[in-house]
């Protein structure tokens, strides 16, 4: 068996894995092809122990999407192991784990589909071979089932555990056959999550629950204005608070360190800091909006050009124009950001719930001056990530404080810190223009999109600013999409479904406007424009059918539809709303999704619902506003989210598919805002063109 890693370094991070069969394999990252896998580059391991337990060591972190369960299903399918004897560990990041570790863009199941099944099949073949040798028979007379190898002639059985040591000494088979999907017994069956038990008794260890001997607690006072710097501070009152141990300046602000989190917070409350607020102190939401509007008069960098939209618009029978706007949004995961760091002269250990393990290691190495291999990152359960935990700013802060004190320190963000010092979903602005032909069908569509860029610019275009419009599947002959990268200095980053979170609202609401202007039914119009996009069209038809599209509704009620293709999945949603004395209620959401092969239908349903609730919170309530460079929202009373009694009835329908699995964690989020806005239009004739939806937009 060729495992080009130091087995001891690796194993010390895991469970009791001494002995047994260990198979290393490679899970491609991001958009890498599975073909890039080579034996010299391993980043995941399967271990079959002499105790019969199978452990999957993966670097994909769990933030709530049920990834662990789906990945375990892929493995167990081919390994033929007992589902109750499989467990998962997230080893600490180490250089052997490849160049990039992290969970963003819903790619976990997409990139793991083949290699995990192959790893399971490899382990199974070796165990079968070991049994065949023990019995002195050909392996064709053996069968694997439920963590045992069975001699088909005698019905004798050998457990995986009893074979694992021998199997470990066998050569690794060069080629293994994978099951045809028709033979799957686990994949495709609704399967419960593996991690539930510890999540109902308080035992699941989140980052914030890490306790290290000798650990102190820290909170940081940061400049309320983005980009501001500490000019000076007076810690005398802080140090008088019982339990406060120290106050130190770090690059992001001033850290108060105490015996417990509350004492640190109290110390921070009386801390006096003078700030050099910097240039962003003159920025406010109204100014940003005005700037967006001005730029929308000028052409931007071209992101898509199909046909000649300008010429077609000039000759169109009817021209429709609209301006849409969406706000900055915070991630607000339930578990506030936190990190434990212990910096020693010869090494650094970090415990964090993070979506970006490699980034965490790199920032710790940079701050401490240690080589990256001297940094150990231990991943814990994440109390939600939604993109925020792909950043490692909070890891860096903990490392800086621990370095200054020479002790282990837990750094905790308050909810106020979380809402006021986020990397936000950018505010965005869209100027949309379309032309209809004499029969009312769209012939030209032009979108000018404006928002702060992140993730890099390509010929002036940030993919994160245009996705959702640039990749629309509608067969409109003339399409122009251009983009202005306007950066007012407010930090922005990935937020569940990224650019789709605003652009799908723009595109799908505007398409509804075109339907109304052309006298078309919104489903009929989409069906026609999706003639070349069968997967999205099937989802559209299924959602419309299940929702009873076209059936009459009581007065004050309306239905709206939207579609989106993101992360390799195709989703359609119908929202049903009622408006009662100026109050909006979303009664029902019917969602149809084609996310390729449905590995775990139960998990898919859960993730779709979760994504819809997340998007609905934003559509109905979400909005971060800026005044003089400061975020105005402080806690959940000013940044509210959907509550129990506001929950619509959600139905999820999965389109049967044999395509490779698509992502699912972000598939439900983009479509809900336009579906609701379109339903409001159906109910009231009022077009909602900005989010969040306000009561004054309903009447």
């Amino acid at each position: 068996m060729s495992i080009p890693v130091n087995r001891r370094t690796f194993l010390k991070t895991g469970a009791a894995t001494a002995g047994g069969l260990l198979i290393g394999f490679y899970l491609p990252e991001r958009n890498e092809l599975a073909a890039a896998a080579t034996d010299s580059k391993l980043n995941a391991y399967v271990h079959v122990g002499s105790d019969d337990f199978v452990t999957l060591f993966i670097h994909k972190a769990e933030m709530g999407q049920g990834t662990v369960t789906s990945l375990s299903m892929l493995l167990a399918e081919e390994l033929e192991c007992d589902w109750n004897k499989i467990r998962t560990e997230f080893p600490g990041v180490s250089p052997e784990y490849g160049p990039y570790q992290g969970v963003v863009g819903s790619q976990s199941i997409r990139t793991s589909w083949e290699p995990l099944r192959r790893a399971g099949a490899t382990a199974r073949e070796m165990l079968v071979e070991a049994a065949a040798q023990r019995w002195g028979i050909d392996k064709s007379r053996c069968r694997a089932e439920s963590s045992e190898v069975i001699n088909t002639a005698t019905n004798a059985r050998l457990s995986y555990g009893s074979l694992s040591e021998v199997a470990a000494k066998l050569p690794r088979p060069t080629a293994v056959a994978l099951k045809d999907p028709s033979q799957f017994r686990l994949i495709g069956k609704p399967t419960k999550r593996l991690d539930t038990h510890d999540k109902v008794n308080g035992r699941a260890a989140f980052g914030i629950d890490v306790r290290v001997p000798g650990m102190l607690h820290a909170v940081v006072e940061r400049c309320p204005v983005f980009g501001g710097k500490v000019a000076g501070f007076d810690a005398s009152k802080s140090k008088a608070i019982p339990g406060v141990k120290d106050v130190v300046a770090i690059s992001s602000g001033v850290a108060v360190i105490a015996e417990n989190t509350w004492a640190a917070m109290e110390g921070r409350r009386v801390l006096k800091v003078q700030w050099d607020e910097g240039a962003v102190a003159s920025i406010s939401s109204a100014g940003i909006s005005k700037d967006f509007a001005e730029h929308s008069q000028q052409p931007g960098a071209v992101a898509r050009k199909t046909g000649d939209a300008a010429a077609s618009l000039a000759g169109a029978s009817k021209k429709i124009e609209a301006v849409y706007e969406t706000p900055f949004l915070a991630h607000a995961p339930m578990e506030p950001l936190n990190c434990v760091a212990h910096v020693r002269p010869d090494g650094c250990e970090v415990w964090a719930s993070t979506q970006g393990q490699t980034a965490a290691r790199d920032i710790a190495a940079k701050i401490t001056g240690l080589a990256p291999e001297k940094v150990q990152v231990n991943t814990r359960f994440m109390g939600g990530g939604f993109g925020r935990r792909a950043r490692s700013d909070y890891v860096g802060e903990a490392v800086e404080v621990s370095k200054a004190l020479g002790r282990p320190v837990q750094l905790t963000w308050s909810r106020e810190d979380d809402l006021q010092q986020d990397f936000y979903r950018p505010a965005a602005y869209a100027r949309l223009t379309a032309g209809l032909d004499a029969e009312g069908w769209p012939v030209a569509f032009s979108a000018r999109l404006i928002c702060p860029p992140f993730g890099g610019l390509n010929n002036g275009v940030a993919r994160t600013g245009v996705e959702g419009v640039v990749d629309m599947l509608y067969a409109i002959p003339n399409i122009l999409v251009d983009y202005h990268a306007l950066d007012p200095g407010i930090p922005v980053s990935y937020w569940r479904s990224v650019g789709y979170s605003q652009n799908t609202f723009f595109a799908e609401s505007f398409l509804d406007e075109l339907a109304a202007a052309g006298g078309k039914d919104p489903v009929e119009l989409r069906r026609r424009l999706l003639s070349n996009a069968p997967r999205l069209r099937t989802a559209l038809e299924l959602a419309a059918d299940k929702a009873g599209w076209g059936k009459p509704l009581a007065p004050g009620k309306g239905r709206g539809i939207s579609v989106v293709n993101n992360i390799g999945s195709f989703t359609a949603q119908v929202a049903e709303v009622s408006i009662n004395r100026g109050k909006l209620r979303v009664d029902r959401v019917v969602c149809a999704v084609d996310c390729g092969y449905a590995v775990n239908p139960a998990g898919i349903e859960q993730q779709i619902r979760s994504g819809i609730v997340f998007g609905l919170s934003a559509a109905l309530k979400g909005g971060i506003t800026i005044d003089r460079g400061r975020v105005q929202q402080q806690n959940f009373h000013q940044y509210d989210v959907l509550r129990m009694e506001e929950m619509p009835a959600i139905e999820v329908h999965i389109v049967p598919s044999r395509n490779a699995p698509g992502g699912i964690g972000e598939a439900g989020t983009p479509g809900i805002a336009p579906a609701v806005a379109n339903a409001i239009f159906a109910a009231t004739g009022k077009r909602v063109r900005r989010l969040p939806i306000r009561s004054e937009d309903l009447a």
Partner: protein, 159 residues
């Protein structure tokens, strides 16, 4: 600093703490009971819910001094083996996603069930309104509460 005596998960407990220190931080940082979670610190999210004398209370805004002589129950003390009807139902219905809000959801739901044997949807709305779940598990929480009520009444084994 003041010495505060109370009953914690059925056992006598003594802590020496600043009187204003919230119970949440005494539990998490002083006593190492990390099952009770911090979410907002302002009684806005419910993540820190515990029972004090049987009532659901937000421990983030409960000074430790007010707990003297009282009985505190946290998620760790709800049952020894996740056998409380609410926990059983939570497992059956596969409620948790990230799981972070769930200690608070479970403690709030357990208090509802203790007082209302057959909670209606409206009872659930009212009791659970203050517990935020960013993963959006509200509908499974609702069905799990109904299921827990059945379990508690002895109305059938797991489905």
């Amino acid at each position: 600093m003041a010495v505060v005596k109370f009953t914690l998960n059925g056992k006598p407990q003594t802590v020496d703490a600043v009187p204003a220190m919230p119970l949440l931080w005494v539990l998490r940082d002083t006593l190492g009971l990390t099952g009770t979670k911090f979410g907002c610190g302002m009684s806005l999210c419910g993540a820190c819910t515990v029972h004090i004398n049987g009532q659901p209370v937000r421990s983030c805004v409960t000074p430790i001094s007010t707990v003297a002589g009282k009985t505190v129950l946290t998620i760790e003390g709800l049952s020894a083996d996740a056998s409380h009807p609410i926990q059983q139902a939570w497992i059956e219905e596969d409620v948790p996603q990230c799981g972070y809000c769930q200690s608070g959801q479970i403690m709030t739901a357990a208090a509802l069930l203790a007082k209302t044997a057959r909670p209606s949807d409206a009872d659930i709305d009212e009791a659970m309104h203050g517990n935020i779940c960013r993963c959006g598990t509200y509908d499974t929480i609702r069905s799990a509460i109904h299921r827990a009520a059945e379990i508690k009444r002895g109305a059938g084994a797991s489905k």
